[in-house]
Amino acid sequence: MLNNIQEFYNILPLIIIGGLILVSLIIEMYSESSEKILPWLSIIGFLFVGIYSLVEVGRTSIVLQNMLATGGVVNIFWLIFNITAAIVCLLSINYIKKYGAYYGEYYIIIQTSVLGMMLMAGAKDLIVIFLGLEVMSISFYVLAGFNRNRSSANEASLKYFLLGAFATGFLVYGIALIYGKATTTSIDAISLNFSALSGNVLFLTGVLLFLIGFSFKIAAFPFHMWVPDVYQGSPTTVAGLFSTAGKAAGFSALIVTFAALFGGPHGHLFTPYLSAIAVFSMLFGSIVAIMQTDIKRMLAYSSIAHAGYMLIGLASGNIDGVAGIIFYLAAYSFMNLAAFGIVSILEGKEETNLDLDSYAGLGTRSPFIAGLFALIMFALAGIPPFAGFFGKYYVFIAAIKSDLTWLAMVGILSSMISVYFYLRLVVIMYFKSSETEDKVSYTASEIIAVVIAVVFVIILGLAPGSFIDLVTKFL
């Protein structure tokens, strides 16, 4: 199984998360106050694994009979997932009490979803990608419907489950067609043999179905219909997890499957499909977001648009594009998490205070939160010097390098459209008077989580080069 002790250290993050799930389950079984212990245990575990992954980032290896890669980009993805999950747990401590889902199982299911994401990012075999995706998706379906007394949560969970299962069907069908032609599920073997296989119609159909299956998971245009309803119905912190770590996991699987082709003769084989869904996602997401009056639906459409920007990096089919996506994912994860965090702080009991108008006068009612939120909106809109700007910059540069200047132009156009609805919220917060004079109440854990995310956004915006250098070193 494992050839030496070093390989054990390389897969230690997976083992720790796996063990954490079991320990949490035992605590949940025998402790009366598990919902107080488990968030802190999860946060410690996630932080440890995240930092460990960053420290061990240089040790690249392929372990467990060519099933899993560790080190390098994989560890950077593990870092993103774990830090994101830790922030979500910190935000949830107070929120799920308010939301009516105050149970220890909530954190166990977040842990299993992170395990699935980590498997997806490290996969070297299509079977591992599929299993990782299923572990993550099943956890997500449960998280979406955690409060069973709310019909909106039930609707979100059911919709997510049905459409997700449909997408997984596409994915498995695609994998079956790929296996039928290539007679292997190993990603390396398929990429090596790609020239011989790429002439086959069935093989290409398989790869296309694989891409379609993942288009669902990353919420790209023709397969986006679940996003607004699911984000609106599920707990706000969980919607934050779906839109950040879930999207990052989908992109990580696309990167591990397609990155080997980039730079080779077939690097641009799927550019037409990818650029088409990128264009439609960006424009559709940005334009429809303008018409939204509910903040969670607005963030959902903005998440569709951001999937489009990231797909530009994949469509450009070169290493710069991949590095750009990874930077974009890291930046977007922290921006969006902070945005959902603030929405969860302001949300009242029974889904109140989710209208855009309920943010009126926030600038005077709670200047600190309003300031943070304005900063995040600027970052999401892609205004320099925040991280969002550099994410877009890197993927657009990668597209221009691959002679896809028109795609970059569409991206810039869409960013300009999106500035409108992000800044509209800032205008509402500062220049519209509110009916209430209530101060916003929040607990320390929530505000610390938001501040941490904002600090990451600022750091990534101030020093984007060092992160990009770290990523490109391993590509």
């Binding site: 467990l64 009979q65 299911i109 079977i127 572990v135 099943i138 069935l202």
Partner: protein
């Protein structure tokens, strides 16, 4: 005519007839029972292809557990409501037929026009060996260790999630 061909014809006929009956029945419980017959004949088809483990899994999981589950779900919902749903939206039937035809055409294309992949042994002895439970076990515990444990976590998360969502009273 060898025994295999006789068995194939029997299973294929049973499979086809039960499939058509399953789709055309009005009562969902009778449909579900025809689905059991369909699953059973599929298991027989797998056996004629020397895929013993898959045949066993088909019987235990599909004809056993999933059918029990189907029947309970049918008993749980109100079928009258579902009937009206189809009457309101007859275009759903057209959609379903279109998808079925599409999948059928694709499989027909695979069978009729595509060449078998290189590296696939067509020897009967090799296929018998590959299909045995011992061989699958050996592969599962050497090469596929990680997917095997991942399946463990998948089932664990599914079990916890199912209880969280379906339990009558929480806590």
């Amino acid at each position: 005519m060898t025994l295999e061909i006789v068995l194939f014809v029997i299973f294929a006929l049973v499979c086809l007839v039960s499939g058509i009956l399953m789709v055309t029945r009005v009562n969902p419980v009778i449909s579900a029972l025809f689905l059991v017959v369909n699953f059973g004949s599929l298991a027989g088809l797998y056996l004629t292809l020397n895929a013993q483990f898959i045949a066993v899994a088909q019987v235990i999981i599909y004809a056993g557990a999933i059918m029990v589950f189907f029947l309970f779900v049918i008993m749980l919902i109100n079928p009258e409501h579902e009937k009206r749903f189809l009457e309101y939206k007859p275009q759903l039937k057209i959609f379903a037929v279109a998808i079925a035809v599409l999948v059928f055409l694709q499989i027909a294309y695979i069978i009729l026009f595509s060449k078998p992949s290189e590296g696939v042994s067509r020897e009967v002895a090799a296929s018998v060996k590959a299909g045995t439970i011992e061989q699958i076990g050996r592969e599962l515990f050497t090469k596929y260790v990680l997917p095997f444990e991942a399946v463990g976590y998948l089932l664990l998360s599914a079990a916890i999630g199912a209880l969280v969502l379906a339990k009558k009273k929480f806590k």
